[in-house]
Subunit: 236 residues, 2 copies
């Protein structure tokens, strides 16, 4: 594994967000539990079911079966399905559904993230390259005090990672070459796609993103350009 | 003049940047002077000539006579013309021209801006709605410590203000209605267009943007929703 820094420091670092920077699972679970204080559902199972519909919903768009729709709307559609699955189809009115959908704007950063991004920002441009929309990433940044220089990601390309257009749109928006930009993620497949698109790659393990029984992405699965233990290590 | 706050506080404030937040004229003059220490040109006249080509260059795109090109590229083309005009066509190599073009990324904020934006950010989303590109606005924000929540503007619409598509693209990116967003500018025509697009409007006078002899935009020319003396006043 090559853990040393690339010869030329990246001019920008762009980040996967869900999982890599924020603990979506425990955060969404908390919001679900607060929304249904008197129900006997397992809020963590609700969060997992909701999230499990994330990739299939994007896949329809990536494959050309549907025009681009922002992730906020996909989350809302998936919420409807999830409510039905848990026999809660009548439990919330429209405003309450919108409020619960905004759980995705209230995700707690892992403990190393805010300090690490703040350090890194002194050396380079930092931005999310998430499948979340500009609106979602902006509100999430306000919630978690993520000190982004700008918000990049799926909205710019009108497509979803791991489509190369998303990585390329981020580089183009910054007027940088892919080789000047490092994609940072805890998901090996995100980095595979970023590397194929010409970007530098940085891996950080988040071994409890999916809970204590997590079986995937426990370690780097290729010779990524950087492998770090904390976000702040990228500044070294 | 209605100087009172609108009944409902805006959920986002989006800002014109050149002139409204940063002193482009003195800043570009400084960079020009540093680039030509041994020449007898008037660096301020150079800056004014360069900037005078800004609106005509965008107008070709607004009118459909040319596809969207980022402002960085228009600035560069206008720089070539300006160098020729001042008989400096042979004075700089390509790298030096690129360096001088980045003068637009090194513009000093007016004295009230950083503190004012920081206060406002506690209450609402703040973002530039400039004709500058995401790349240009990102680097300008790093230079001047402008604490944006995200970078909006011309790049999202692939068109230039005062085209309504630019204001609408900013609102849409935030998933807000135009009536929930206030456009803030020191240029009355920018606010006219924003109001026509359905946005709230905020005016701040910058009476030396064009130097001591400035004759335009010395005061509000309509009943804008807010008229403020400092950016921080928008938070009141």
């Amino acid at each position: 594994m090559n853990k040393s820094a690339p010869k030329t420091a990246p001019k920008a670092f762009i980040f996967d967000v869900f999982g890599t920077l924020v603990d979506w699972r425990n955060s969404v679970t908390r919001e679900v539990a607060a929304t249904f204080p008197n129900h006997t559902i397992d809020p963590c199972a609700f969060a997992d079911f909701w999230r499990a519909r994330y990739q299939p919903a994007m896949e329809r768009i990536r494959s050309g079966g549907r025009d681009y729709v922002a992730l906020d709307d996909l989350h809302r559609e998936n919420l409807e399905d999830t409510l039905d699955h848990f026999s809660l189809g009548d439990a919330l009115n429209d405003g309450q559904r919108a409020a619960l959908n905004s759980a995705w704007e209230k995700l707690d950063p892992w403990s190393d993230v805010v300090e690490g991004l703040s350090r890194l920002k002194e050396h380079a441009i930092i931005a999310p390259c998430s499948n979340g929309s500009i609106a979602l990433m902006t509100r999430l940044a306000k919630y978690g005090a993520l000190p982004w220089d700008c918000i990049l990601g799926a909205d710019l390309a009108k497509d979803y990672k791991p489509q190369p257009a998303v990585y390329h749109a981020c580089c183009k928006a910054l007027r940088l070459l892919p080789s000047e930009v490092m994609m940072v993620a805890c998901h090996n497949n995100d980095l595979e796609a970023a590397r194929a698109a010409g970007l530098l790659t940085g891996f950080i393990a988040r071994v409890t993103e999916h809970g204590l029984g997590q079986t995937i992405d426990l370690e780097p699965e290729s010779d990524w350009d950087r492998v770090v233990d904390t976000i702040g290590d990228l500044a070294c």
